[in-house]
Symmetry: C2
Subunit: 222 residues, 2 copies
Amino acid sequence: MTQLGPGRPRLEPRRRAGQTPRAEILDAAAELFTNHGYGNTSTRAVADAVGIRQASLYHHFAAKDDILDALLAETVTPPLELARTLADRPEPAAVRLYALAWFDVSQLCSGRWNLGALYLLPELRSERFARFRERRDELRGHYETLAAAVLAEAGAGAVAGAELLPFRLVESIINMRSDEGAAPEYAGRLIPDAILRLLCWSGSLAETRVAALELARRFAPE
Amino acid sequence: MTQLGPGRPRLEPRRRAGQTPRAEILDAAAELFTNHGYGNTSTRAVADAVGIRQASLYHHFAAKDDILDALLAETVTPPLELARTLADRPEPAAVRLYALAWFDVSQLCSGRWNLGALYLLPELRSERFARFRERRDELRGHYETLAAAVLAEAGAGAVAGAELLPFRLVESIINMRSDEGAAPEYAGRLIPDAILRLLCWSGSLAETRVAALELARRFAPE
């Protein structure tokens, strides 16, 4: 029986995904929040699902809000870091926007639980989640800036305000996952391709995709 | 003091939007579900918000699920009725798709509460909401059929699978409302316009819009 971190040794074998107690708590909470509802889940239920005492859970997270905040950060931090890097890169805006959208869709698809489904919780409008909202707004701003640059280069015929929609198309993967029960295979190509078409960008999607995936892989955060 | 429907006369004046006790219950529940969370709201809290006794509420709705189901139906029934009518109309697919998207965005914007934010609730995956899911899937199917017809007519250069996205763009109005705190004015034009551009449809948006709004107004359900 291995003791990882504080608290008494476990009486039971590890039962959750995750290498640390903190990761196990996050995995259990993500499952409960997305499958039973945030309002319906107590920290007691999370502790039970991990197989630890509630007091041990409180060592890692002082309140249920803190667990939610950590889960939400997982969905926004990686694409935001990539977006900040891409903002200063010399590649064409279409390549950078494609790279960001591809990476963001991939990470929204790859988590075990569909955490984006929590974005519409009314709790997120409270002061407690102001920092999360700021970071998601910053990410949205990066999408809008890149999309406006694509429009400025090549978007003859595009609709006024079209720069607002790439971010929305990326987040629609959350609804697809929810409706289909799993992340659709085709989304990692469909959504970035569709974003460029929506902006009336008329270059080669195949070439842009190759360049964008190379760029995303080179600068993607760990 | 007017007595409307069953139950004892009210001790207090009417305090909610709605012409009937049923409508008042739905309005109060919509506010609480969207602002405090479905899991956090009891039927008791709904009755209190209306200013009626819980027993009176149960006369109209046997359980909280039934209130949610009635609210969800309000969001899907009108566009589904219009979609069924449009399916058999002789107008070009681009006009019919524009009409459906415009009407659907308008009704998702016009409700007092952002009910679409409830679509991602885990409760909706249960058998209780199978009928709602079927109807929303049918609506989604109408979007996909119309979009495929637009692609067949005029979508040279469009991305494979693009017919899946108009429905997602329409529902993104729910996220815009949630992020911006109110329905954005421009959405009723931006989203239908962008849908046609996404499908690489190259006709006149201005003419299509005029024809589509006329069609939607002629056949829109009450």
